[in-house]
């Protein structure tokens, strides 16, 4: 059981790593475009809101009713 979980996790990690790297290639080619459109302050705050909503999970930090 443990071995299987570990194997699955390893395969997923390697897979994700590969995927992430693939996705980065075109971005690198487009560097000038990316530089030209640096995120605005509003974009950054929006990203922070998005992240916080996920990270806060169902647990602490937000009191419950």
């Amino acid at each position: 059981m443990f071995k299987n979980t570990f194997l699955t996790a390893s395969v997923l990690t390697v897979g994700l790593f590969a995927l992430t790297n693939c996705n980065q290639q075109p971005a690198a080619d487009n560097q000038t475009t990316a530089e030209a459109s640096a995120p605005s302050d509003a974009d950054i705050v929006k990203r922070g809101e998005y992240l916080s909503n996920i990270l806060v999970a169902t647990t602490a930090t937000h009191p419950k009713r």
């Binding site: 302050d41 950054i44 705050v45 929006k46 990203r47 922070g48 809101e49 992240l51 916080s52 990270l55 806060v56 169902t58 647990t59 602490a60 930090t61 937000h62 009191p63 419950k64 009713r65």
Partner: protein, 132 residues
């Protein structure tokens, strides 16, 4: 608390464990010290485990929260699990998942901090950690 369990109270978001909400696990000390059990408050903002009793921090931009914090402090707190993000402070206790959150990029941590600075400040002095 609802029949479906605790529901996020968005009006009090990020204010941490409410100062007026009592929590004690004194009668479960032995069980907790056996290291087989940890105990949460129903709203899950307070927890007692082998580390003692911890209370979710106020991370609104109030003086009782992270109002006076710099971005660098926030990043250090999450990356190194240092309370207040300062040198020589105590470690941030469980269940704060900083050992996972520390893997966020600088960009994402900065975005989180920028967002937290925009939310409504809530005055709430969270209790200090306690021993069991």
């Amino acid at each position: 608390m609802t029949p479906q369990g605790p529901v996020l109270d968005m009006a009090r978001r990020f204010m941490g464990h409410p100062a007026d909400e009592p929590f004690s696990a004194a009668d479960k000390k032995e069980l907790i010290q056996s290291q087989f059990v940890a105990v949460f408050s129903p709203g899950m903002t307070a927890a007692a485990g082998p580390w003692g009793v911890s209370f979710a921090a106020n991370i609104t931009p109030d003086d009782t929260g992270i109002g006076a914090w710099t971005e660098a402090q926030f990043i250090k707190a999450i990356r190194e699990g240092k309370s207040k993000g300062m040198e020589g402070t105590r470690p941030i206790l469980p269940p704060m998942p900083w050992p996972s959150y520390k893997n966020m990029t600088d960009e994402d941590l900065k975005a989180l901090f920028a967002y937290l600075k925009t939310i409504k400040p809530i005055n709430n002095t969270v209790p200090k950690p306690q021993s069991l």
